[in-house]
C-alpha cells in the first residue's frame, strides 16, 4: 500500500473518519463517559428511530431527493392512538401493534397515491400531514387525559421494544451478548473473504488480501468492542435487534434486489427508467407507503422508551432522519446513497447528541453545535470528494 492508496481510502471513508474523530473528541471531553457501557445502550435506544426512519427517508430520497416532512408528526399521532389502544381501552399488545401498523399502511397508501398518481409534490403532500397529525395527536391526547399525556405503557410492550434479551445485572458480564458479538464478527469476516474468493474465481476485480484483512479486522474489532461493552450493561438491548434487523433488510433491498435498483434509476433519470419498463409511479407509491410503515415501526421503541405519549413526541424527527441521510452521503437530488452511509450519518449525529448531553451542554447551544457540525460534515464530505477528481 503506497501513500496514494491510503489517501484514496481515507477520502472514500471520510465520514467514518469524522465519526471516529468526533467520538475521540467526546471521549476526552467526557473523561471516558461516552465509553461507559451505559452510554452504548443509551446511544442505541436514543437513536433507534433515526436509523429506522433513516431507512425510509433514504428510499424516498433515492427517488429524486424527495422527502417526508410528516413522519415526526405521524409518530405523535401513532403514539396517541397507541395510548388509546393500550392504556385507555386496554387492548392486548399484539393486537394494538397490528392495528397501529394497519393505520400506517392506510396513511402510506393515501400518501403514496397522492404523490405517485395525482402528482402532488412530496414536500407539499407531507407538509399537510406535518401540520395535521400534530394537531390531531394533541387533540386525541388532551381529550383523553387531563394532563395531555398518556402513560404508562404495558410492561410486555415495553419489554419488546425497550428491554434486554437474556438480561443480567449491570456490571455482570453477559455471555449471550458477547457470543452474539463474536458470531456477528465472524460472519462479517467470512463474508468479506468469501466475496473476494468468488470474485477472483470468476476473474473479476477484487480487493487485495491485505485490504480484506484490514477491513474485516477493523469491522470485527468494532463489533466485538461494542458488544462486550453492552454485555457489561445488562445484555443485548431489544432495540438493537430491531434496528439491526431493519438496517440489514434495507441494505439488502437497496443493493441486491431489482426493486432496490429501480429506486436508484428512478432517481438517476426518471424518463430513462420509464422507457426501460420500470413502473415509476409504483416506485414512488412504494417509497411513501414504506415510509409510513417504517414510521409506525419507529414509533414503538420511542414510546416504549418514553413510556408515555405526549404532544411534543416526535418533534423534528423528520429533520433527524433527513440529516442522517444527507450526512451519510445520500444525494439530495436522488439516485445515490447507501444504507451503510445513512447508518454512519445517524451514528455521527447520535454520538454528538449523546456527548453533548453527557457534558450537560445547554439545550440551545446543543442546537447551535448540531447545526454547525452538520454543515461542516457535509462540506468536508463534498470537498474531499471533489479533490478525488
Amino acid at each position: 500500500m503506497n501513500r496514494e492508496n491510503i489517501l484514496a481510502a481515507l477520502k472514500k471513508n471520510a465520514m467514518l473518519i469524522v465519526l471516529v474523530l468526533v467520538y475521540l473528541f467526546f471521549m476526552i471531553l467526557t473523561q471516558g463517559g461516552i465509553f461507559e457501557p451505559s452510554s452504548f445502550t443509551e446511544l442505541i435506544n436514543q437513536n433507534a428511530y433515526v436509523f429506522i426512519l433513516g431507512c425510509g427517508m433514504l428510499m424516498c430520497m433515492l427517488t429524486g431527493g424527495n422527502i417526508d416532512l410528516s413522519c415526526g408528526s405521524f409518530v405523535c399521532l401513532v403514539s396517541a392512538i397507541g395510548g388509546i389502544f393500550m392504556i385507555v381501552s386496554g387492548l392486548g399488545t399484539g393486537v394494538s401493534i397490528l392495528l397501529l401498523l394497519l393505520i400506517g399502511v392506510v396513511y402510506g397508501c393515501i400518501l403514496g397515491f397522492l404523490i405517485a398518481y395525482i402528482h402532488i409534490p412530496p414536500w407539499i403532500a407531507t407538509l399537510a400531514g406535518y401540520l395535521a397529525f400534530r394537531g390531531l395527536g394533541t387533540f386525541i391526547l388532551s381529550s383523553n387525559s387531563p394532563t395531555g399525556s398518556l402513560a404508562p405503557f404495558p410492561a410486555d410492550f415495553r419489554s419488546i421494544f425497550y428491554g434486554k434479551v437474556f438480561p443480567t445485572e449491570k456490571g455482570v458480564f453477559n455471555i449471550p451478548c458477547f457470543v452474539l458479538g463474536l458470531v456477528a464478527a465472524a460472519v462479517v469476516v467470512l463474508m468479506l473473504f468469501w466475496t473476494r474468493k468468488n470474485r477472483l474465481k470468476k476473474g473479476y476485480e477484487a480487493d487485495t488480501i491485505r485490504q480484506v484483512a484490514l477491513k474485516g479486522g477493523l469491522s470485527a474489532a468494532v463489533i466485538i468492542l461494542v458488544m462486550s461493552r453492552l454485555a457489561m450493561d445488562g445484555g443485548i438491548p431489544t432495540t438493537l435487534l430491531w434496528v439491526a434487523g431493519i438496517v440489514l433488510i434495507y441494505s439488502f433491498i437497496t443493493s441486491k434486489t431489482t426493486i432496490g435498483r429501480h429506486f436508484y434509476v428512478v432517481g438517476g433519470n426518471i424518463e430513462a427508467a420509464r422507457l426501460s419498463g420500470v413502473n415509476t409511479k409504483r416506485i414512488m407509491f412504494i417509497a411513501y407507503l414504506n415510509m409510513a410503515v417504517l414510521t409506525t415501526i419507529a414509533t414503538m421503541p420511542v414510546i416504549a422508551r418514553s413510556n408515555s405519549a405526549y404532544a411534543n413526541l416526535g418533534k423534528n424527527f423528520e429533520m433527524d432522519a433527513i440529516s442522517a441521510c444527507v450526512v451519510g452521503g445520500v444525494s439530495a437530488s436522488g439516485g445515490a446513497g447507501s444504507v451503510l452511509g445513512m447508518v454512519i450519518g445517524a451514528t455521527l449525529i447520535g454520538v454528538i447528541n449523546l456527548g453533548m448531553s453527557l457534558i450537560s451542554l445547554d439545550a440551545n447551544y446543543q442546537r447551535v453545535v448540531k447545526g454547525f457540525v452538520l454543515l461542516a460534515a457535509v462540506v468536508f464530505d463534498i470537498v474531499s470528494k471533489k479533490k478525488k477528481k
Binding site: 470468476k202 434486489t257 431489482t258 438517476g268 430513462a272 422507457l275 426501460s276 420500470v278 439516485g335
Partner: protein, 514 residues
Amino acid sequence: MAKILLEMKNITKEFPGVKALDDVNFKVEEGEIHALVGENGAGKSTLMNVLSGIYPYGTYEGDIVYEGQVCKFHNIKDSEKLGIVIIHQELALVPEMTIGENMYLGNECGHKFSIDWNKTYSEADKYLKMVGLSESSKTLIKDIGTGKQQLVEIAKALAKQAKLLILDEPTSSLNEEDSRALLDLMLSFKKQGMTMIIISHKLNEVSYVADTITVVRDGATIETIDNHGTEPVSEERIIKGMVGREMTNRFPRREDVVIGDTMLEVSDWTVHHPLYPERKVVDGVSMYVRKGEVVGIYGLMGAGRTELAMSIFGHTYGTNISGSMKIKGKAVKVKKGADDAIKHGIAYVTEDRKGNGLVLSQSIKVNTSLAHLDAISKHMVIDSDKEYAVAEEYRRKLKTKTPSVEQLVGNLSGGNQQKVLLAKWMFAEPDIMLLDEPTRGIDVGAKYEIYCIINDLAAAGKSVVLISSELPEVLGMSDRIYIMNEGKFVGEMKAEDATQEKIMAIILKSGRGE
C-alpha cells in the same frame, strides 16, 4: 496573404493520466472561416477551452498569440475583453428570461445597481436584426424554437463586440433549413470582416462554409486543408484525415440477409398530442417491418417520427391513440407502459440518450441490465456476478471503450454512450428494434461501428426500424424507406430505387399540399 489574427503555438495540455493536446499549432487568418474537425475526444473542445481561458494560463504549455500579442487569459472574461467569444454546443440561455435579459446576462447595461433596461432592449433589438431575427427582445426564450435560440446566442456574442467568434457544433440541434440559414449568416458575417472558428461533425456544412479546415486527431493537428478553391473539398478527403485511413465506404456492406415474414405491422395509426389533444401528431400511418429487414423512416425534425415510434412502444407518447397493431401476424393490444412493449419484443432506442436513454449517474453495468433485470435476477434478487458478466460481454461485443464496466456512463464519450444504450436494448432481446437517430452527435468512426451493429442485428433476424434525418444514412442502411412529413407517411420506396433527389421531391410536394 492576409494577416494572421490568432496563432496558437506548441500548445500542450495534460489531464491526470491523459495528454489531451500534444504540441498543437493552429493559425487563423483574419476574416476567414476556419473549421476544426476531428472525432469525438480528439481535442477540439480542449483547444478552444484553452483559447477562451476556461483552462487558465499556466495549466497548459505553449503560447497564444492574438493580434500580435502573447495572451495570458485567466478566465473567459479576459478573452472576451479582446473579442474572443465562444458559443458552446449546449445553449446557455435561461428559458424563463427574455431575449434581451439573456443577451446581457453577466454583461448588463447601466450601473451595477441600476440596470438600464431601455438601453438593454434597444441594443438587443439592434443585434437581433443583424442576425435576421424579427422577434422582439422582450420575448421569452422558452417561446422561441431551438433554431432561433441559436441565433440569439450569436446575437449575444455580437453584443460582446466579438472579433473572433467560435461556434462549437452550432447546428447539432437544428434541422436542415435552420442549419442552412445559420451557415449563410456566417458567410454574411465573413463579408463584414468577422473571423470565425467552427467546430462541426457535419462535414457537408464544413466544406460549404469553411475557407480553411484543420483536422485534429488524438490531440494533435494532423493537417490543414485549403478550401478556397471553386470546388469544395470532398467529405471523403476530410474523413481520411480524421480517421487516418481512407474511408472508401461510409456504410458497411449489407450481408445478403434472407428477409422473412412480417414481424410488426401497424395500420391507420393515429396519435394525438398529450397536451393539445385536438392536434394529430401522427396521422393514419400504416407500415410494416419484416424479419431481418432494415426499414428507414426519413423525415425532417418535427415530422412525427419519434412520436410514432414511442406510441408504438407501449404508448409511451401521446393520447387517444387509435389504429391496429399486429406482431407476427397476430393482432395485439399492447398495454400502456414500456414494460408491456418489452414483453412483446419491442425495443425503442431513444434519440435523446442523455435525456431519457441512460442513467448517467450509474455504471455501464447498471445501464446495460436495466431493461431486462429479470434475466439476471431470481425472485427479485440480482445475481451481481451474472450482471457483471453480461455487461462485460456487451462491452466486448460492441467494442465500448472504457476501463471497466463499473465506469459511470456520464464519463463516457457520446459514441460510447450510444453503444451502452444499444447494449441495453440488445440485452432486452427484442424482435423489433426502433432506432431513433442512433448516430446523432457521434463521430464518423463510431458511426461506422454503429452501422455494423445494425447490420449484425438484421443478420441475426431482428427487424430494425431506423429513424433518421440524415438522408445518406437512410439511403445507405435501409432495405426499404418510408418518408414522413407532418405526421403522415407521404411515400415508400425500395432502397435500390431511392435517391436523395427523389425523396426530397416527395417531401417538397407533400409540403405544398398536393
